[in-house]
């Protein structure tokens, strides 16, 4: 029997596609339909109502925690991107240091909870940071305010998501050939100028993508704010997670999840059109011209 190449391909693709459809696409759709169902005495009843959405949108608490999540997300993603760009640039154009890449991978793959715990240790009242500051005489009694603050949440989230952001930035920069930098310098720009005039415009789409992905993951992370944020650590994620555990109003949680999802997408489009309007993001051109 001689099946065509693509037919064999389709058969071989089936396990992956079927698995992901059953365990990713279908659950997402169920979750979406849940958001229109209603909940009666802790039981989920199939229905078609918009109350879950309306309740979420009219809830002051929901907006408070959502604004908090968006704020934490934007701050963390911005800091991560600003730190990731020089590291990515270094890894792609200056030294293809394998050691450095593996150090980054190790932090990426080191346990999520361990890193949260590490920052609790570092920032606690009896923590390492306070001990160092006391020793140096910068403060005369331990600062309580390090922990359970948005500072603690942000620094920890940057620590958790920066490696991922670096990897995204590195892969988007590595599409841009280093001889473009040489060419820009040959034509009279400094190396910093070459970055802003040539690398940044060509990488803009990739960098915006890295920012957005980091934002989405951070804004949806509720464990870190909960563990390190104290009263400031209430985010939408925690609200949603609690719906699926304690109070048990699953339809409401589902609706809140999709509101968050829509907000993320809206933010992405705002970001991209802002970039377009200011000329920071140019229309995408293929990186490899013909004949190469």
């Amino acid at each position: 029997m001689n099946l065509s190449r693509t037919k064999i391909g389709a058969i071989l693709a089936a396990p992956t596609v079927v698995y992901m459809v059953i365990f990713f696409v279908v659950p997402s759709l169920i979750l979406f339909s849940y958001s229109f169902w209603s909940s009666e005495s802790y039981r989920v009843v199939p229905d078609f109502v918009f109350t879950n959405y309306l309740d979420s949108l009219h809830s002051a608490v929901f907006w408070k925690v959502t604004i908090n999540a968006v704020r934490i997300g934007l701050t963390t993603a911005a800091i991560s991107l600003v730190l990731a760009v020089p590291v990515g640039y270094y890894l792609v154009y200056v030294s293809r240091s394998q050691t450095m890449l593996y150090l980054i991978l190790i932090t990426w793959f080191s346990s999520y909870l361990v890193r949260i715990y590490a920052w609790r240790t570092l920032l606690g009242t009896n923590g390492v940071l306070n001990a160092v500051l006391l020793q140096l005489g910068i403060v005369d009694h331990p600062v309580d305010a390090f922990l359970f603050s948005s500072f603690a949440v942000t620094i920890t989230l940057v620590h958790i998501y920066l490696p991922f952001c670096i990897l995204l930035v590195t892969s988007s920069l590595s599409e841009i050939k280093p001889d473009l930098i040489d060419a820009a310098r040959d034509l009279g720009t400094s190396s910093l100028g070459a970055f802003f005039r040539v690398i940044a415009p060509n990488a803009a789409n990739g960098l915006a993508g890295a920012f957005m992905l980091t934002f989405i993951l951070v804004a949806g992370d509720y464990v870190t704010p909960q563990m390190l944020g104290g009263s400031s650590g209430q985010t939408t994620g925690l609200l949603i997670a609690d719906q699926f555990r304690k109070t048990g109003n699953w339809p409401l949680g589902a609706a809140q999840a999709f509101v968050m999802f829509v907000i993320s997408i809206a933010l992405y489009f705002i970001l991209v059109s802002l970039g377009r309007a200011t000329g920071l993001i140019v229309k995408r051109r293929t990186i490899n011209p013909k004949g190469i």
Partner: protein, 262 residues
Amino acid sequence: MLLRILVWAVLAFLISPLIVIVLFSFHSSPALSFPFAGFSLRWYAELFNNAQLGSAVMKSLTVAFLTSVVTLLIGTTASLAWLRLGKVGRGFIEAVSVTPIALPGLFVGVSLLVLFAQAGLQLSTLTIVISHVVIALPILIVAMKARLALFDPSLEEASRDLGASQFQTFRRVTLPLIAPTLISSAILAFAVSFDEFVVTSFVAGTETTLPMYIWSMMRRTVTPLINAISTLALLFSILILLGAWLISHVRRRSAVAARIES
């Protein structure tokens, strides 16, 4: 030069919290502060006498092993499909299987939870493994995509042209070329599963994996025991990464060396 300093500062920021944890895991006093009172292995000794912890570790190892096997099997078929499909087919595989990377664990966790509830599936080790594969498979596909971009599809055609059957081609040409990537991805799948917390917390039911156990400890008290567990977990991830690296590099190097010799 300024760039180099900045880059190493960022790296120091990433690494130093982990070093602090390792350091305190050997602290002889329970205090998590300087000055250091002295080194001891007492926390490690306590760990090994903790039965609950032992069973959590066993649970995590079981889950991670099953996850990596299932991911490897499905991932291998996906890789072979990738080589045979055009732009549209590849785009379709990517669309359904890479998106979870870009979503918070919360979303994946709750949607799987509603699926299991709707299907009447009891939360158990099985549901944990199913969920972990949903997270690990996309990572394998991304890694494989990068590797297979270097793979020339005409290699398979050349092999058939030289008289090899479809199976022989797979055994002698395709598999040796994609195996290092697949195996190192499977190892990464193991690492991801071993460490997974957010999704697990929704689909684990009454099962306790190691991250779940650490979480319950973290919520109860701050004890240096966590430092010791964390250090071991860290060591474990480094070993896994090292393993993945060795497989993908040594295989390539030995292949090159063999070619030079012959």
